[in-house]
């Protein structure tokens, strides 16, 4: 299945677009998405450790604008936001 990862904050450096499309197996979880993003970084950014650190410390936000945990099952064509560590104000 395809899903769209929407990029925010430091994760915007992962792509020139504001999102990345991933092809995952049906009913994949956030935990599996995290692995897919790490693989993407290893392939496209020479294993950039800073980028991997961002992924491992990020939260994820569902289509319904809710922060979800690693067991959350992603739906086909769902848009999921990656929420790196925050620091506004």
């Amino acid at each position: 299945m395809n899903m769209k990862l929407e990029l925010y904050g430091a994760s915007r450096d992962f792509s020139k677009e504001s999102f990345i499309i991933f092809n995952l197996k049906e009913k994949s979880t956030i935990k599996e998405l995290r692995v897919a993003i790490i693989n993407f970084i290893e392939e496209n950014f020479q294993n950039n450790e800073n980028y991997k650190k961002i992924v491992n410390s990020s939260a994820f936000c569902s289509d319904k604008d809710e922060i979800v945990n690693d067991n959350y099952k992603i739906s086909n064509n769902e848009k999921v936001g990656i929420i790196p560590p925050i620091g506004g104000g």
Binding site: S57, D65, N69, I86, G89
Partner: protein, 148 residues
């Protein structure tokens, strides 16, 4: 009563006058305005501008949740809160966040204003990218809001 919004700098600026109109109430005897701006130095590097990125829906949701928490925590009568956070690239001294509160008494207004900015720092999905004099730029580190 709460006003909560993300302001896109490409369309408009954060204006104190809007906050002043919103929080004006004859039931309140004290108002506090917290204004966050971009400063020129961070970690010994000269900053010339800041880009703010935000997940708009989550930002507004977090402001509403912080407001609900404040009601539970303080239980102040007739308090009014106005919050706007900027999105996009702004220059030195421009406003990034405005929190205006009005309460019956001054100690309540100080408590509420401080509560909001501290909670926003911990819970609101906004990110800052500093732009430096030497042409370099960098996303600032923040607090993880991972749900275990």
């Amino acid at each position: 009563m709460l006003h909560a919004r993300v302001v896109d700098i490409s369309k408009e600026k954060i204006e104190l006058l809007r906050a002043e109109k919103f929080i004006a109430s004859s039931k309140c005897g004290a108002s506090i305005y917290f204004v966050g701006t971009v400063r020129d130095l961070n970690n010994n590097k000269k900053v010339i501008a800041m880009t703010y990125d935000s997940h708009d829906a989550l930002v507004v949701k977090s402001f509403e949740e912080i407001y609900q928490s404040s009601i539970k925590k303080f239980n102040f009568d007739n308090s009014v809160v106005f919050i706007e956070h900027i999105k996009g690239k702004i220059k030195l001294a421009e406003i990034s966040i405005l929190i205006a509160v009005a309460c019956k008494h001054r100690d309540q207004a100080y408590d509420l204003s401080r509560f909001f900015i501290e909670e926003i720092k911990k819970k609101t999905p906004v990110w800052k990218k500093e732009h430096y004099e030497d042409g370099d730029s960098q996303w600032l580190e923040g607090n993880s809001i991972q749900k275990k």
